[in-house]
Assembly symmetry: C2
Homo-oligomer: 188 residues x 2
DNA sequence: ACATAATGAATACAGTGCATACATATCGAT
DNA sequence: ATCGATATGTATGCACTGTATTCATTATGT
């Protein structure tokens, strides 16, 4: 087969390879040129599908939030929603730490309030609210406040677990995200 | 005055200007060359004082942890240690968001278990443990577990507040780090 | 005073994000 | 089916970055 001039699905190929790169070495910056190289396309080709590097990150952050949303939707139908959500969150953090980091960091760096990532984030928060509602608990506060507190706990524990990888906090010392989430949500 | 060939205090000047840069535009990567340019020294001069860019980040992360340690030591002598600590943490996050971000991210990216930053981080955790002890509370768990939970809450709320800057969670919805900290520590 | 170490400059190279200009494939109206 | 418009990829180039090598200047200890 003589190489096709057009890739055919470059946009998704870029995102796919980008996620592989994030998985292979989390904590490293993506390189657009390297993505193009791996796919076998010219250095400038990605710019036909994204406005630039930040555009790729935006799309990836949206994917990250969608994974979180899916986890929340699954958790909402179980008998201990917050526990299950925390477990799923931890699983994602372990399987795709690079993607989760990029997702979490995204708002801090390239923040546009109406971008794809921001929309995906809002959907994730809505799903999180549903989880908190499903979990029940004392109505000491609004469900939104509870959801925000749960979100904070999930973020904090995830970050702490990546800290722990270099030594300080070993397993038994680490807080259990599920228990903490139930605690701050007023459940149990 | 004819310009001195040797700067005299380049190492500290680099760190100082780096913090200014982080404060001026948080969320942007540092540039060694720009630091050198701002100070008025050759592009390679910083390499006499740091092994490379990661070395500068390491030193900055250590400074960040030391600021947190100082905040914890102040808080330990008050009548509501966790509340005061949370307030100080939030103040640092507001005043120097770039430095705090770099500090928090450091372990994730350039992790050496015995570097300057790792030592500073351990000291911060020790100070945090002291705060939790000062706060008292039910001894349902070890003070280390409580401290880790408090740390997670501080990290999570700080991250959430930087999210909030782009819209989703407005003030009244955001969890109060102090109350959450006391909750997960079993105080009150 | 003078050898030596510490600190800075000059130059160079590979890698990156991105812009402009050009080439080829795809697709819709006729 | 043809043919022009559009989408998608290539070629080339620029400014910037981190870092290595080599050389110049200053500080320092005996």
């Amino acid at each position: 087969m003589r190489t096709a001039y057009h890739h055919g699905n470059l946009r998704e190929a870029l995102l796919s390879v980008a996620r592989e790169q994030l998985a292979a070495n989390p904590g490293t910056e993506l390189s657009l040129r390297e993505l193009a190289r791996l796919i076998g396309v010219s250095p400038h080709a990605p710019y036909r599908h994204f406005p630039g590097k930040d555009g790729v990150r935006e799309a990836l952050a949206a994917q990250g939030y969608r994974e979180l949303t899916r986890a929340a939707e699954e958790a909402a139908n179980t008998d201990r929603p917050l526990h299950v959500l925390a477990h799923e969150f931890a699983r994602i953090a372990a399987m795709e730490p690079g993607l989760l980091r990029l997702t979490i960091e995204h708002d801090f760096t390239g923040a546009t309030a109406d971008g794809e990532a921001a929309l995906a984030r809002d959907e994730w928060f809505a799903a999180l609210v549903a989880v908190v509602e499903a979990a029940g608990g004392k109505p000491a506060s609004t469900v939104y406040r509870k959801a925000a507190a749960v979100w904070a706990v999930l973020l904090g524990v995830a970050r702490l677990r990546s800290h722990g990888a270099v030594g300080l906090l070993e397993g038994p010392l680490l807080p259990d995200a599920g228990e903490l989430a139930e605690l701050v949500a007023g459940v149990r």
